[in-house]
């Protein structure tokens, strides 16, 4: 189980971004982390994968543990070795490499003998990539690039996969496919922490959900309950009982957020 306890993160020694965030990703679960822009979702992921120092941030309080072992003091490669994989926001594939080479970089820490088997597994999971294994990754479509980014992270065979907005900039149909892939990956035994703006998609596959606002977890419930929660439906799923919203109603939103006391 990946656990984040009371995590506090400060950027540039002055900007307090996370104010005591706790969350847990049990083995085999899909956990969604929702929140608006600037809530600190990506920062949580950075803290887990050891990328804070690149962004001049640091953990000032709290801990990140994987099966009880603290990992927040390790550097990024060691965290990968411990079994955590991350798919970064905006895909960040190596656009001059071929699909095959991208995946091989993903298996950088894997024993050499295992690489062919792992490649085969990824190509089974993503037949689209198998068709284009020799294509230069920069010429892939957005959806294919996202699949490549996920496949690349899976090459390290992580126990926990962190996904940062895998639906970003993709057509609804492609988002469906990515969603199904995440379900497949999870069924094969990898726990998933899914960071999303697309709450609809995230909550449809998650077991549990956390809602983050301005650096705090304001709600923490099983996904089924979140889907039914009136406020979540309004603010994150865009669903309302009444008809069209007028500007006056919008102004009322702030008042009606019960969790911000």
């Amino acid at each position: 189980m990946l656990a984040v306890q009371n995590l506090e993160v400060v950027y540039e020694d002055v900007i307090l971004v996370l104010k005591g965030v706790s969350l847990a990703v049990p083995d085999g679960a899909v956990v969604a982390l929702l929140g608006g822009n600037g809530a600190g979702k990506t920062t949580v992921l950075r803290a887990i994968t050891g990328l804070l120092d690149v962004h001049r941030g640091s953990v000032t309080k709290g801990s990140v543990t994987l099966d009880g072992e603290p990992i927040h003091a390790l550097d990024a490669p060691a965290i990968v070795a411990a079994g955590i994989g991350q798919v970064m926001e905006g895909r960040r594939i190596f656009s001059e490499f071929t699909v095959d080479e991208n995946l091989r970089v993903g298996g950088h820490r894997a024993p050499r003998a295992e690489i062919p088997a792992r490649l085969d597994r990824i190509y089974d999971l993503f037949p689209v990539l198998a068709e284009r294994r020799r294509s230069v990754a920069g010429y892939l479509s957005g959806g294919e690039q996202q699949m490549l980014a996920i496949g690349r992270a899976m090459m390290a065979e992580p126990r926990v996969l962190l996904l940062d907005e895998p639906s970003l900039g993709l057509a609804p149909l492609v988002v469906q496919r990515i969603r199904d892939l995440i379900v497949d990956i999870n069924r094969a035994g990898t726990s998933v922490l899914l960071v999303e703006q697309n709450a609809n998609m995230a909550l449809s596959i998650a077991d549990h959900g956390y809602i983050l606002e301005t650096g705090k977890v304001v709600m923490d419930k099983p996904a089924a309950e979140l889907r039914e929660d009136e406020d979540v439906r309004e603010f994150y799923l865009g669903l309302r009982q009444e008809g069209a919203a007028s500007f006056r109603d919008v102004k009322h939103y702030k008042r009606r957020k019960r969790w911000l006391s």
């Binding site: 490669p77 190596f94 080479e101 992270a153």
Partner: protein
């Protein structure tokens, strides 16, 4: 998985696995060309005179250093201006171990089998030590940091007169003697006399082929992919488990090794060296070798080295027939040959950056792709 010969016939581009695709000589055309170029290169000592052979050797040595710089600047994407310093370090390591001592300088007259490897290893160790510092910065900042290294190095070289002979004086290089066999002495081969430069040329050529194949092989390995991953997307590479500092450090170390070996060979070739030689201009020469030849290639720097070494000679030879160019400094004319060389050099770098960023190698790729698709346009 192998494809039957009958199916492969006429389809040089048909690969059935990654290993075949990534093989060093993966097409018959490549095999044929490599063999032809190698034969031509080996036959050179029989064809050229001493003067041109010296120039050819310089091309080979420059190519070696260029490949080294391309490892760090091209493959790993870390712009280094300190290349001349590492070459100097290699040259002086070699001169100290393999050279003759004198009134002011020390020398231990050891065998080439001792000094040549150490001429690579000492700069490599130094690179290994300074790399973690350099790994903290990237881009222009790294260029400035390595520039600082170059200046510090130049100063130390000037002051350490027991090693370098001191500023403006210089010292003789190491003796290229392997187990009593002098590599810088005229020999008879196939009934023909080959001048000393030719013998040394062949030796350098062997080193170039060996180290070139090693670099090319490295580029397609896990390490090579790690270099390129760090170059293209360093943070994404880190989340893949590619250790940034260790990867950059390895690139620095390897690059310095190549630089050191090339520096040692260059001094042997030139027969003399002063501390001023290992300056910024030399580093820029090698940036030109890489840029003109082709960034992140191994064949590129060889072409780039030929260009950088031969162009000044070319201009020198033909400038005499131009009316406004003075053959020597001080002779009447608007420019002298040396000024013209420098100017054309700068112009060529700009032209290549703008028109063909992949360098001579890029031009070759275009020509190759044209004929590969012929008679169709693509």
């Amino acid at each position: 998985m192998s494809v039957p010969r009958a199916v492969r016939r006429g389809r040089p581009e048909l690969y059935s696995d990654y290993a075949a695709d990534m093989a060093l000589l993966n097409t018959p055309a490549k095999r044929a060309w490599s063999a032809a170029i190698l034969v031509a290169a080996v036959a050179l000592p029989l064809l050229l005179d001493r003067d041109l052979l010296g120039l050819a050797t310089q091309v080979v040595v420059y190519a070696l250093a260029g490949i080294g710089l391309n490892l760090i600047a091209g493959y790993a994407g870390q712009l280094s201006l300190g290349h001349a310093f590492f070459m100097g370090l290699g040259a002086y390591t070699a001169a100290l171990l393999g050279g003759t001592g004198g009134a002011t300088v020390r020398g231990y007259e050891l065998d080439l089998l001792v000094w040549l490897p150490l001429a690579g290893v000492v700069p490599a160790l130094f690179g290994w030590v300074v790399a973690p510092l350099a790994a903290r910065v990237k881009g222009l900042y790294l260029a400035i940091l390595t520039l600082g290294l170059l200046f510090v190095g130049e100063h130390v070289f000037k002051e350490a007169s027991w090693l370098t002979g001191g500023s403006g004086l210089g010292r003789a290089p190491a003796e290229a003697v392997v187990l009593g066999f002098d590599l810088y002495e005229a020999r008879v081969l196939l009934g023909r006399e080959i001048p000393a430069e030719g013998v040394f040329y062949l030796f350098c050529l062997i080193l170039l082929v060996v180290l070139g194949v090693l670099a090319r092989n490295l580029a397609r390995s896990r390490t090579g992919r790690a270099f390129a991953a760090v170059r293209d997307r360093d943070i994404a590479a880190e989340v893949m488990g590619v250790p940034l500092v260790r990867t950059k450090r390895l690139a620095f170390t390897l690059s310095s090794f190549y630089a050191g070996v090339a520096g040692a060979l260059l001094t042997v070739l030139l027969g003399y060296t002063t501390p001023e030689r290992w300056n910024l201009l030399l580093s820029i020469d090698f940036l030109a070798v890489v840029l003109i030849g082709g960034v992140a290639t191994v064949t590129g720097p060889i072409a780039g080295a030929a260009f950088v070494v031969l162009m000044p000679r070319f201009i020198e030879t033909f400038a005499g027939s131009l009316p406004f160019i003075a053959g020597t400094v001080g002779a009447p004319g608007i420019l002298n040959v040396f000024q013209l060389q420098r100017m054309l050099f700068g112009v060529m770098i700009v032209v290549f950056l703008v028109l063909e960023p992949r360098g001579l190698f890029g031009i070759w790729i275009r020509v190759r792709n044209y004929f590969r698709a012929w008679p169709f346009s693509y």
